[in-house]
Amino acid sequence: DAGITQSPRHKVTETGTPVTLRCHQTENHRYMYWYRQDPGHGLRLIHYSYGVKDTDKGEVSDGYSVSRSKTEDFLLTLESATSSQTSVYFCAIVRDTDYEQYFGPGTRLTVT
């Protein structure tokens, strides 16, 4: 929905390595989001963006940084991955027209 893709879809990495996840949208909506979901829980907001180079922290932002240099791309970086960052990461947009939020397919990240 809303032309959202995430890459990679699956990644296994070692503790201490940097990791970047990419979210791409095709409809140029202003708001983009990164969430993580852990087993048995809802989604927790990591960072969100309300425009190019405009970002803000969510409730679990420690250990994560983001960048948005183009409207269509929102990157999430784990500077030095830890095992506690093993999770499923979802990107989302909020449509400018009606404020409905739509999600990408998710990235399953495992940090060993």
Binding site: D1, Y31, Y33, Y35, G40, H41, G42, L43, R44, L45, Y48, Y50, D56, G58, E59, F90, A92, V94, D98, Y99, E100, Q101, Y102, F103, G104, P105, G106
Partner: protein, 110 residues
Amino acid sequence: SQQGEEDPQALSIQEGENATMNCSYKTSINNLQWYRQNSGRGLVHLILIRSNEREKHSGRLRVTLDTSKKSSSLLITASRAADTASYFCASHTNAGKSTFGDGTTLTVKP
């Protein structure tokens, strides 16, 4: 504690029965949205209700919002086995920040 909370955490009903799940939030909102997630899959948007609306319908779904109590409910009428999933609410502020609850797991038995 989580800003958004759903209850019950789990709900098991027979096909054809109605399912009601509730959501509470803590801050002023612009809107509240409900989502469905099938096991191991992504989230599907169900319905959005704005802060100035009290009730909204979409097919077999009915959502209510009580801003004085900071709560919302989702009613699924005439449940089907295919409705088996986890259901989440998310409150959205005017600044665009969103907060999810931990969800209600609904099981509909054939």
